[in-house]
């Protein structure tokens, strides 16, 4: 499979997983679930839109990487941005799209009031965010090294052709 075909397939899968499925999922959830989520302060439509936008961005960057030469600075920028978006995707998902919780990097609080009872829930997923940060950092370093390697290969001059023998002249 060529780079371009691979990029197209990868972008299509990314779009399906991170854009199409999140956008369609609320239709299949019982309305009571949506109401319960809304009571906790989770804005489901906004959350879904955030995931979908990031899905489109990651798919677009995947396409860019497939159609641009690895030695191009655009390829490096796309690879770094793609890794950054992966981190953003993790943080947004673990914060359930609550913008005020994004800065807590995996420590998410929500409050639900049901029939007079107040239910305060705190989720501590900071370790998973830290693990993702490590993964993303390693991928960024890898992207930089791959870019430098590709540049080096692109600059290697063609080996000179064998000198003509005097007898041939």
């Amino acid at each position: 499979m060529s780079n371009r075909t691979g990029a197209l397939v990868s972008a299509a899968i990314t779009l399906l997983l991170f854009t199409v499925i999140p956008l369609m999922a609320p239709q299949y959830l019982p309305p009571s679930y949506i109401e319960t989520l809304a009571r906790t302060g989770i804005d489901v439509p906004s959350f879904v839109n955030q995931l979908a936008i990031m899905g489109v961005a990651v798919a677009a960057l995947t396409l860019v990487k497939g159609f641009v030469a690895p030695a191009s600075p655009i390829y490096l920028l796309a690879a770094l941005a793609s890794s950054g978006l992966t981190f953003a995707f993790t943080v947004v998902t673990l914060s359930f799209g609550k913008l005020e919780e994004l800065g807590n990097l995996g420590l998410t609080s929500m409050t639900v009031e049901v029939q007079g009872s107040v239910n305060a829930i705190t989720l501590d997923f900071r370790f998973l965010v830290q693990l993702t940060a490590l993964t993303v950092a390693l991928r960024m370093v890898e992207a930089v090294f791959a870019y430098l390697e590709a540049r080096k290969e692109a600059k290697v001059p063609e080996p000179p052709s064998a000198p003509a023998r005097a007898a041939d002249i």
Binding site: Q115, G116, S117, V118, N119, A120, I121, T122, L123, D124, F125, F127, L128, L131, T132, L134, T135, L138
Partner: protein, 141 residues
């Protein structure tokens, strides 16, 4: 790639343990029993739950119970922690003892509330959830 797979596996296993312990703790509702011993003059509030860990990771469970008066001050409190191995369970019984004065103040018309705390940590103490439920008097089933 390896760290991504580890991250996904850690998240999945943690969520499975968290969901399993929480659902087993709250399944069937929370039954509070309130008694008053005329002989000793001591009132008691009892809560018994049996959290189970159906997951594949150890889980540390902390259960706390507080009886708060109308000003939000704790009249009595009790907590208990247990480590649940995969497949394990533990029956936790919390009993709050309340003096006659406080019992009468709270049970006979005064405003009060019960605060139940459930803390759960898993994945070698790296992932956790805490849930604090405040139930005003009159709402308790």
């Amino acid at each position: 790639m390896i760290t991504q797979i580890v991250s996904l596996a850690a998240f999945g296993l943690s969520m499975y343990s968290v969901y399993g312990v929480l659902s087993s703790t709250f399944s069937g509702g929370l039954g509070f029993e309130m008694d008053f011993d005329e002989a000793t003059g001591v009132g008691s509030l009892r809560l018994e739950v049996t959290p189970q860990n159906p997951g594949y990771l150890d889980a540390d469970v902390t259960l706390g119970l507080k009886l708060l008066d109308g000003d939000g001050v704790a009249v009595a409190s009790e907590s208990f922690s247990a480590a649940l191995a995969p497949g394990g369970y533990e029956t936790i019984s919390l009993v709050l003892e309340v003096s006659r004065e406080d019992y009468e103040r709270i049970a006979l018309g005064g405003e009060s509330s019960i605060e139940l705390f459930l803390g759960l940590r898993t994945l070698f103490d790296l992932v956790g959830i805490s849930d604090t439920i405040t139930i005003p008097q009159g709402v308790q089933g």
